[in-house]
Point group: C2
Chain length 383, copies 2
């Protein structure tokens, strides 16, 4: 097992028929959620914001292909209905069902299709490697591969699945993440931990700067392995989310390379994050990475418009492929060895490390290159 089924008390199943997928995950316990900050929230997001206040979930139902977004009152009733359908089949309280949708905006849910898929999927719920793969596939849209993470500690585990691809912005994109732990954590602690983990991982992924209407990250604690140290749990949850966030970045629409930007020496973690996210979102940096062009000027120029104050002539910049590292700028002086720097961009991963020399704040952001394929995919989506 490599994700949610590695966590005690979690069973899963899913189906994918063309564009239309459905995932069921059963796991009872304390729960927390984090949602999109886009004011155009899809009805399932609105519903979940209300329901997560109860601090517990019994199961999650998620569909792909239709986002049930911008569908107003009918969309809200459809989201409630989705929960009822799952609850009926699983014999659970409908108020304890998590609901999430991803896909095209402005279309109503096909309730008969969802009913049929739930009836098909529910009897297959189990705790197995193939079940968690089905579940991860069931929520995919333009994703090319399913995304799993499992962090195993001696006394507990944290596992999750997610989907990403387009509309990925600093405040969560068309991003669904379902996280589980068998550590016993209260709903309140879970909310604090999830919020911090999301802030440091999913919210630092930028594929295209567009922020979706449907983002949901839910975390449920089955508690089957008892109480654990909260700090240790926080670290494991963050590690799990980071793994999933990086998988979203590398599977960005049309991406050929993972781009990682670490900012050090910033006035604060927040300002380090602002600089890292501005660099990672820059179309000029993204196309340079695609073209394997060690264009340090675009990196520093993007940092310069992030809103964070620093001395441009004090910064240092390195490029790395994760193994070797080359200096591009040393305290404002250009020291780039173009041939060496270019050679470090040939692989699947390009890392920029930017030291602002203005404090102790550090943050890392993840993204991908911008390619002709991204344009192709998004120029022909609805049709």
């Amino acid at each position: 097992m490599k994700s949610i089924c590695g966590v005690e008390g979690v069973t899963a199943a899913g189906v994918k028929e063309g564009k239309y997928g459905l995932t069921l995950i059963r796991a009872e316990g304390a729960a927390a959620g984090v949602f999109t900050s886009n004011i155009m929230k899809a009805p399932p997001v609105v519903l979940m914001q209300e329901r997560i206040a109860r601090g517990k979930l019994g199961a999650v139902i998620a569909n792909s292909g239709c986002a049930n977004a911008y569908t107003g009152d009918r969309g809200y009733r459809d989201a409630v209905k989705m929960a009822e359908i799952a609850a009926g089949e699983l014999d659970l309280d409908a108020n304890g069902i998590g609901v999430a949708s991803t896909g095209v905006i402005g279309r109503y849910l096909d309730i008969p299709l969802i009913t049929r898929q739930v009836k098909e999927v529910a009897p297959r719920l189990e705790r197995s490697a193939s079940a968690e793969i089905q579940a991860a596939k069931g929520i995919m849209t333009t994703d090319l591969f399913e995304k799993h993470a499992l962090i195993q500690r001696e006394t507990f585990s944290v596992g999750g699945i997610t989907k990403g691809s387009g509309m990925i912005a600093p405040n969560m994109g068309t991003m669904l993440a379902f996280l589980y732990t068998d550590a016993e954590v209260s709903a309140r602690d879970l909310q604090v931990s999830l919020k911090l983990a999301v802030k440091r991982t999913f919210n630092r992924v930028v594929v295209d700067g567009d922020e979706s209407t449907n983002d949901i990250a839910l975390c449920t604690s089955t508690g089957l392995r008892g109480h654990v140290n909260q700090q240790e749990f926080q670290k494991a949850l963050e590690e799990c989310c980071r793994s999933l966030a990086m998988q979203i970045a590398i599977d960005g629409e049309g991406a050929t390379k993972l781009l990682e930007v670490t900012v050090t020496g910033a006035p604060s973690e927040e300002s380090a994050s602002a600089v890292a996210k501005t660099v990672i979102a820059s179309p000029l940096v993204k196309t340079a990475v695609y073209g394997q062009d060690p264009n340090w000027g675009r990196v520093v120029a993007a940092a310069g418009r992030s809103g964070v104050r620093f001395d441009p002539y004090a910064v240092s910049l390195w490029i790395s492929d994760g193994t070797s590292r080359a200096e591009l700028v040393r305290s404002g002086e250009i020291v780039v060895d173009l041939v060496l720097a270019k050679s470090l961009m040939a692989g699947k991963k390009v890392i920029f490390e930017l030291d602002l020399d203005a404090g102790d704040g550090t943050a890392t952001a993840w993204g991908c290159d911008l390619t002709e394929k991204y344009v192709e995919i998004n120029g022909r989506y609805t049709t």
Copy 2:
């Protein structure tokens, strides 16, 4: 004449040799300037911010191919030198010479080349249609065509040239604009008018969201046609800047279509502008325009993440090609006729009109579609 030479008291000339161009414009009078807000300001920008405080200019020298950016003290001395070279050739005070550069970041100016080009160009200064075209060509980088605007009123004229293309963001991109009027306007009034005009035109153009280190807009009043009504002048200057801004947008790197977004019914002009710029900068909206996909969902979703509060179910949205107009959303209800809407996207201009129903604020922003060509151009720039 179609731009600066249509203004009394202005002579111009320029040269373009491969990537390296040089433009001289002679016009004495009150002057004002607006500059990039990127903290990584190129030395010529730093120099001009100091010099514009004097409120007058005698001439402008601008080069393309090398941005003289991130070049530190040597870059600053080179910018001063550029002014001196022009001043020597034109027999003017070096402190009254406007200096601007655009091109690759992190390279030093080739002073011998600039000296040679100034000597070649200065004797050719004249007031003619071919002179203003040369001047506009001299500042081009990846621009495909030169950009001119001339607004003629009964008692005065306002003319300008500009260059744009990449690194075009809400706070001015790799954007140089040289504006002239023969109306008599004080340096102080000129500064107020230029700031407002730039805010409403150049600062509402987004090609790729990257903001450059070198943006400069300068306006000189030769005053040869005497005093005019300040409001009338403001309108003419804004009209001139709007024409140039739209030319920058349509000549955005790789663009096939001009994208115009007008937001009405916003709480204020500032919030209308924020919404319009968020929509215009959205890669998902830009690719949809390229693919002629009337994807109203992406427009409303982008508006939803602009930071402006409004009721998503109260908005109305139209699409237009400048001649015909089709309704996409009516007070939150989807009323799109897909075939009709798609047909309005086949031309060179796509306009979205978004009414937020939340106030009286109005603003228009301009941009372009995102194409494979943009990726191609920017993946292979330095090399």
